[in-house]
Point group: C2
Chain length 411, copies 2
DNA sequence: CCGGTTTGTTCGAGCTCCGAACTTTATGCT
DNA sequence: AGCATAAAGTTCGGAGCTCGAACAAACCGG
């Protein structure tokens, strides 16, 4: 009982735990090796010995087994000023393929990926309104994709969607923007495709994407992803792992009131963050600024709603009304992000969504709000995600592959 | 690489990790055994075999070593309808003592505890305003306590205080209610007492207390503690472990705006939750309701401030003005708790503080606000903590002992 | 060609859990 | 009293893992 704990320790869950065996040791060290190769490749066995602290002999045995299992490949030999030349090891990207699926209200994007999140195919289809129709069409598309891109093996299908998935049952609990309720997507798609299916909320997927294949992170264990579209959702990674809450519904900060008596939200609450800072909010601000003098609320129906994409285009052209609407949205985006920075103090907060296209305008307003409202603002870097679709798709790959690279949750 | 992951998995931190050895296996299984005994005691080796899934032989060996290390003790023999009678095992509460310290702005409470959070002594002293004076006095009190209560060994000192501790350096970053800034408490107290010192924010301590010795929790892995005094602080346990954020400052939801343009807070923000829902807020509400008609803000100085304890007493006596102030506080307590329920979706949210004395009045208002404002309200039970001081002190014991009972954060 | 140097492999020691066989200690029936 | 049955706890060989030292391989420069 003199183990050196590295960082935070967690209580052993006596409802479901697993004892350790000799195989556990090998398993843990294999994962460490795999991660070291991922991080430092190309890398020699001797380097791995130095990085890991394991004996040279142990490294050789583990590397041998990982090569036999096709996780690693031997590559070129290196050159050194003196001594025997090392044979470099690197990940074998062909080890397994992954099908990534990004479900959005309008369209669903599918991707074929290798282990290194390099997409070898990318296509999209309209998202069917009816869930069962969607399941059938998606399954067909997936099987077609697999046929068109034959690989040694497919590891699974990762699906990101704007809704929440219950942790135990892995059923969709709700997805308001899709109009779907309580629904089992996993079982039928697994049956149709013959592959294991992982489902995850889009914000969680983005958070995982940043954790596993982001550029900002080396030793980042606390990370928040905020997805901004017609709703706002938050994915949290704390202590290096996804926070799902007890039922999988954690992260609905979009439905926290920013203005207690603000506009009524469909969730039942008033002044929800997503009522004030989502794309839909900007659309509303723009419409409201049309002609109606302040105070008037009714007659929404006869106002022409300009899609958010158009507003962004107008902003880029310098349209003052559009800019005003965007500023208003940015202001509330800032107050909400200040809430997350103050409350969660992550190393990084990533904003995902179309709004990042005009981040040069939005970013400073957000930064200002956070600086003014969060006395802990210094700890968190707020960055826009490069491409939202890519972000979610990389997340789906991480969802499927993470079990091979993450530390087993021991005990 | 066919390990069965139990629940959430975490990324391996390549900056600081530790490879597994054979000893790791024994370590993990020892901890599991220790926890099983803690949970089920008194319990026989055969029961432990069934609970853990380990072989009878392995259980015997581990139990033998834990007994040799004085963690466990053999007790009475049981009775069974048939067969050899089992010898029961139980934790040895005398294995190690812990000094728990609860620092509050007015007074500091010290306790001597066994492994089972049973306090064998409890005393308090005024909290010195000057940090270095405080350190000297506290160290003396601790050494006196140890002398007065000799034990086989003391495991360490756990200190809970209303401030934030930086994760790496373990220095106090700030403690506004104490008036202390940037300060190293750990090193001098360790030097004076000769014992390892653990520091933790009071809300985090309460969260740990509930995790390790609470009554509500069996398989609860997501838990939030809200401490309400003159400030409001939040301790979070997600996936069975404390969330400290990147610098240790996570949980400052007390400084999230509930009302964006509300009263100015000393943190620089406006309408902070703790400006609206803390004890100090209730005191302000009470004072403001005295005579001043609505709208008037000035002339605070000549209003007599009634301490929060007196307001609670007035509420218990049915005083309408006090009730109104309390209701107002409760209302905002509810909106803030709704934020936590919506955003974090914990299994349990524990409210700690004097306000729980009148929870029959406050609880329903909070519940109503949460029900109205959080569409995920069903997942979280909101409960008042029994005794605030006890809660924090139990937390300090958990802080010191948890390293022996928690799962080592592997890899 | 040989010493120096680095990489990678081999092999026995020590630790762990597993699993079967065994001992111990109880009950109940004959 | 004697024996079958049953459950608790122990013993001991086997297999898996890492460690650590010794060894083989490969390369450089003098």
């Amino acid at each position: 009982m003199t183990f050196v704990c590295i960082k935070s320790m967690h209580k052993i869950n006596l409802s479901k735990f697993q004892v350790a065996t000799n195989g556990t040791v090998r398993d843990i060290n294999s994962r460490i090796m795999l991660n070291l190769v991922r991080r430092h490749q190309p890398v020699s066995r001797a380097d791995l010995m130095r990085f890991s602290g394991l004996q040279r002999s142990t490294v050789s045995v583990i590397a041998g087994r990982l090569i036999a299992d096709r996780w690693l490949k031997e590559g070129a030999v290196g050159n050194l000023p003196r001594g025997r030349r090392p044979t470099f090891l690197h990940l074998n990207p062909e080890r397994c393929g992954v099908i990534g699926v990004d479900v959005q209200p309008a369209r669903t994007t599918l991707a074929v990926s290798n282990m290194d999140s390099q997409f070898s195919a990318l296509e999209s289809m309209p998202t069917a309104k009816d869930p069962s129709e969607f399941i059938v069409r998606l399954s067909h598309r997936i099987t077609d994709l697999i046929r068109a891109h034959p690989k040694k093996s497919y590891e699974g299908v990762g699906i990101s969607l704007p809704g929440r998935i219950e942790v135990g049952s892995e059923r969709l609990i709700f997805a308001p923007t899709l109009g779907w309720n309580e629904l089992d997507l996993k079982t039928p798609i697994e049956r149709e495709t013959g592959l294991p299916v992982k489902l995850e909320n889009a914000a969680n997927a983005c958070a995982l994407a940043e954790l596993w294949s982001g550029q900002h992170i080396d030793g980042v264990n606390n990370l928040v992803a905020v997805t901004v579209s017609d709703d706002i959702s938050v994915g949290m990674i704390m202590n290096g792992q996804l926070v799902r809450g007890s039922t999988g519904v954690a992260g609905e900060f979009g439905h926290v009131s920013q203005v207690l008596d603000g506009p009524r939200c469909r969730c039942g609450n008033s002044g929800c963050w997503e009522m004030l800072a989502s794309n839909a909010a900007a659309v509303r601000y723009y419409a409201e600024s049309a002609s109606v003098p302040k105070g008037a609320i009714g007659s929404k129906s006869d106002m022409a709603t300009v899609p958010f994409g158009d507003i962004l285009r107008l902003v880029e052209q310098g349209d003052p009304r559009a800019c005003k609407a965007l500023n208003q949205m940015a202001h509330y985006l800032g107050t909400g992000i200040a809430m997350l920075v103050t409350g969660l103090a992550p190393d990084i907060l990533i904003v995902v969504g179309e709004v990042t296209r005009v981040w040069d305008k939005v970013g400073p307003i957000v930064a200002e709000a956070v600086k003014r409202r969060s006395f802990t603002h210094a700890v968190t870097r707020i960055v826009p995600a490069g491409s939202e679709a890519q972000s979610r798709l990389r997340g789906t790959v991480a969802m499927v592959l993470q079990k091979h690279f993450s530390a087993p949750s021991i005990a």
